[in-house]
């Protein structure tokens, strides 16, 4: 693709080989050659454990963190040397960072004041946004008097007020309790759809990421491990790391030959077209079927955990690592029971053999 301003801007944000190093040279970079694109109106969620470089990614895009290599482009324009206040992006901080000495309206109007909007314009926008985030008439309230959820809404309104071309959210719902989070995820998604906002969010919570995003990007150690729609990532984790991070523990070394894999758990069927040779397999707990003890792989039930909709069983085969299985409530065997298992091919995923 050529770098002409008009044609190159098919994406809102584009990162090419962005690298950020902290501390001594030679230490592992916080961001290691990250390539990422975000299309206009797209909601992208970066998912990763703490220390994977997610927050650094946002800070680099906002211009708060100088990069050591690579380029950040916004709407096709290279942002090298552009200070944060001229980038026209919005950033919602993890703990909101509302200005304590200003009231709600003062916080929301801050970005508008910096852009020298007229006073009437400011008042109108503030009122609109407070309606939008569900806090109508809260203009004069002190920031300290707000609950966590309300602060979060004000922070969102403040970030949206200057109409940023890219809105970035750092752990947007991290500090809220569970019920509120689930409600807010739905609200946020509806809001961003309505406004047509381009969003780049980071979180360590997979539920939040899957609920919010059009596309999920999994990060690990400053690199992108996988990128795809929530369904793709959930169904086809690319590596053992992504699988484990999503909470799947049934990962084993395997050797594929003619549609069947040899594993420590015995023979496991693999999808058609799987190339032969060594690889790693993921068997989702739903794909572990209980049979009579005589059939299939004999196991002992080592533990059972009630999960509401189902029971999670931890099974210990005679040989090899433990296996997690999901089992309907009424069929769940007791701890210590002896069962047999077989594997359903539709829940078997071949992971990238090369990557860890």
């Amino acid at each position: 693709m050529t770098a002409q301003a008009g044609t190159a801007a098919s994406e809102m944000l584009r990162l090419d080989g962005v690298t950020v190093r902290f501390g001594t040279p030679g230490a592992r970079p916080a961001l290691d050659g990250v390539d990422l694109e975000v299309a206009p109106h797209e909601i992208v969620c970066v998912l990763g454990p703490s220390g994977s470089g997610k927050s650094t990614l946002l800070r680099a895009v906002a211009g708060l963190q100088p990069t050591d290599a690579g380029t950040v482009r916004l709407a096709g324009r290279d942002q090298t040397g552009v200070p944060p206040h001229r980038r026209g992006v919005g950033l919602m901080f993890q703990d909101h960072q509302l200005f304590p000495q200003r009231d709600v309206a003062g916080n929301v109007a801050f970005g508008l004041r910096m852009r020298r909007s007229s006073r009437t314009e400011q008042e109108r926008t503030v009122a609109e946004l407070l309606d939008l985030v569900g806090l109508p008439g809260a203009q004069r309230r002190a920031v300290a008097s707000l609950s966590g959820g309300e602060q979060q809404r004000v922070a969102l309104a403040r970030a949206l007020a200057p109409r940023p071309r890219l809105l970035m959210l750092d752990e947007p719902l991290g500090q809220l309790d569970r019920g509120l989070r689930e409600r807010l995820v739905v609200e946020l998604r509806r809001l961003f759809r309505e406004l047509g906002t381009t969003v780049l969010a980071v979180t360590h919570d997979q539920g939040e990421a899957f609920a919010l995003a059009d596309r999920v990007v999994v990060m690990r150690d400053g690199r992108i491990a996988q990128s795809g729609t929530p369904l793709e990532v959930w169904q086809r984790p690319a590596t053992a790391f992504v699988a484990r991070f999503l909470g799947f523990d049934n990962v084993v070394e395997a050797s594929v030959q003619a549609g069947v894999a040899a594993t420590p758990w015995g023979k496991v069927p693999v999808p058609d077209g799987t190339p032969g040779g060594p690889c790693r397999l993921l068997v989702r707990p739903a794909g572990v079927r209980l049979t009579a003890a005589a059939d299939g792989l004999p196991c002992t039930v080592a533990a059972r955990t009630f999960r509401g909709t189902h029971v999670a069983l931890l099974l210990q085969p005679a040989d090899g690592p433990q296996i997690e299985a999901a089992c309907p409530l009424h069929e769940a065997p007791e701890t210590g029971a002896r069962v047999g298992i077989s594997f359903a091919v539709e829940d078997v995923v071949v992971l990238d053999a090369a990557a860890e």
């Binding site: 902290f22 501390g23 001594t24 230490a27 800070r59 906002a62 211009g63 708060l64 200070p83 944060p84 206040h85 001229r86 980038r87 026209g88 992006v89 919005g90 950033l91 901080f93 703990d95 960072q97 200005f99 304590p100 000495q101 801050f110 970005g111 910096m114 852009r115 403040r158 970030a159 200057p162």
Partner: protein, 549 residues
């Protein structure tokens, strides 16, 4: 960062270097042999020994008297505590000249003790030591007591539950936590008393002389610049060492203590021992801190024919005073206020810029935990800002006269000379007060403003300034108070027809006659009222521990 550096280079380093150069450089030849000559002079050695000795003794005495006070202020709740805390701090911002005259009125010839029991201490070292305790009591109570109040009492309770006795718990838990604060306070006291000028000048008589006083004598009385230069360098080196040690202890103090809200740790005293401690502290404060000031005020009203306003009314006319006094003593008050206001403005500008630069240029430590070189350099500058507190003010004053007398910087006849010198002493207080508050501002708050479109200058105005407004007021008050009281440098550079209050007091004290003495007391009282007023206003503003002073 550039402006404060330039300010210190031009108005501090340059004059001091000039005067040292003039003293030691004779026709292009460096006369380093002067060191040997001066240092083998028994009189100089005596001064050196006395300087160190009295500073050590003053520090020990201050700690002995003030540490129980720190405990009382930290752990006990009693009526009038806030007011008493302010009262205790008054002496610290008082001009040394006032303290000198106050102790003169208490223990000097014809003083209170002399009249009552015929006891005179003004020719003994005790007067100096007591005056130093008077001054520095607040330093210990503030630095140590401030931390003590924030130590979690539950730490001691945990030790008690684990089987430690009351004293063992204090010794093994509280004392180690307080150690660095005590060391820092002791160093500050040592620094202040080591460079003591006004107090020793007034109370020491011909017998006792510190380095600073000796520098003044050599410069002003004997015009022996080489000796003065050597003494200046010696004092400079000693102060530098003290500051390095101080910076080190302060850093250790910042280390790893878990602090709690001070208002939750104090309670009413219980049992006979605690009440005795409280009353003992109150008695010490009454005798050592309040009594000298009270006597000063009393003397200022005690005219030749009973109590009256004689000394005050005569202040406003030049004729009533000694004929060599070109202006009415009261004019000194207006001079002082104008100089003080200008000095405060300069100190706020320079100190504010320095504090902002010091806050900004602190990069986050890398994951490796090593401190980058830049950070260490900045910390060094942090410490250097304290230097004017310790370097001979006399040298600075005289250096101003010598260094700033030719274009483009011909300020010798400029009105601004005095405020510039006074601002030099005010800046460290401004930086010390502002820095902790600025550092406490979450840097992400600034980032939030930047992302919302605020330029760096806008960020400072919109985020930092509103949060530090109170600290700024407090810093302004301190700068004003120390500017008012500055004596060592001002005595050199103030024009004879425009004396400041401390200079006028010193002049009056230097003359014989009851009227002069009474007027000195009256002027001192005025000065005290202005300084104490400034401080009491500050105490109302201050609700948190926003600085070290």
């Amino acid at each position: 960062m550039a402006v404060p550096l330039a300010f210190f280079a031009v108005f501090f380093a340059y004059p001091v270097a000039m005067i040292v150069g003039r003293g030691l450089n004779d026709g292009g030849q460096w006369q380093l042999g002067r060191f040997g000559t001066v240092l083998s002079d028994p009189d100089v050695l005596h001064v050196l020994w006395f300087t160190v000795w009295q500073a050590a003794a003053s520090t020990a005495l201050t700690l002995l008297v003030a540490l129980p006070g720190a405990y009382v202020f930290a752990r006990f709740d009693f009526p009038g505590k806030q007011l008493l805390r302010a009262v205790v701090a008054v002496p610290f911002v008082l001009p040394t000249v006032v303290a000198g005259s106050a102790f003169l009125a208490l223990v000097g010839r014809g003083g209170l003790l002399d009249t009552l029991w015929g006891v005179r201490l003004d020719t003994s070292v005790w007067a100096i030591l007591l005056a130093h305790v008077f001054f520095n009591y607040a330093v210990v109570v503030r630095t140590v007591g401030g931390l003590w109040a924030q130590l979690d009492p539950r730490q001691e309770e945990a030790a008690r539950v684990l089987g430690a006795g009351r004293f063992a718990a204090w010794r093994t838990v509280t004392l180690p936590a307080l150690g660095p604060a005590v060391a820092a306070a002791a160093l500050m006291v040592f620094l202040f008393t080591f460079t003591s000028f006004g107090v020793v000048q007034i109370l020491g008589g011909p017998t006792f002389s510190t380095l600073e006083v000796e520098i003044y004598r050599q410069t002003a009385d004997f015009l022996d610049l080489p000796t003065a230069a050597v003494l200046t360098l010696i004092q400079f080196a000693a102060v530098l060492v003290l500051l390095v040690v101080h910076a080190w202890t302060v850093r250790r103090r910042e280390a790893t203590l878990r602090l709690v809200d001070a208002s939750r740790t104090a309670r009413r005293p219980r049992g006979r021992g605690q009440w005795a401690l409280l009353w003992g502290t109150l008695a010490v404060i009454a005798v050592l801190l309040v009594l000298p000031l009270a006597v000063l005020v009393e003397r200022s009203f005690a005219g030749p024919d009973g109590y009256g306003l004689t000394f005050y009314t005569t202040l406003s006319s030049a004729a009533a005073a000694d004929s060599t006094f070109a202006v009415a003593p009261l004019d000194a008050l207006w001079n002082s206020l104008a100089y003080g206001a200008a000095a405060t403005a300069i100190a706020l500008l320079i100190g504010g810029l320095a504090a902002a630069a010091l806050t900004r240029s602190r990069p986050e430590p890398g994951p490796s935990g090593r401190t980058p070189l830049v950070t260490r350099l900045v910390r060094g500058f942090d410490g250097l800002l304290m230097l004017p507190l310790g370097v001979s003010a006399v040298t600075v004053g005289f250096g101003f006269l010598i260094a700033l007398d030719r274009p483009p910087l011909d300020l010798r006849s400029s009105w601004w000379l005095v405020p510039l010198a006074q601002a030099l002493v005010g800046v460290p207080f401004v930086v010390r007060t502002m820095l902790p508050v600025l550092r406490a501002v979450d840097s992400r708050l600034r980032e939030a403003a930047a992302v919302l479109g605020a330029s760096p200058w806008r960020v400072w105005r919109e985020v930092d300034l509103p949060l530090v407004r109170r600290a700024l007021l407090i810093a302004a008050g301190f700068a004003f108070a120390v500017s008012l009281g500055e004596f060592g440098a001002t005595v050199f550079i103030a024009r004879p027809d425009q004396p400041t209050l401390p200079v006028a007091v010193a002049r009056l004290l230097g003359r014989a006659g009851e009227l002069n003495y009474g007027q000195a007391m009256a002027l001192s009282t005025l000065l005290m009222v202005v300084c104490a007023g400034a401080l009491l206003v500050l105490e109302r503003i201050r609700t948190d521990h926003s600085g070290e002073f």
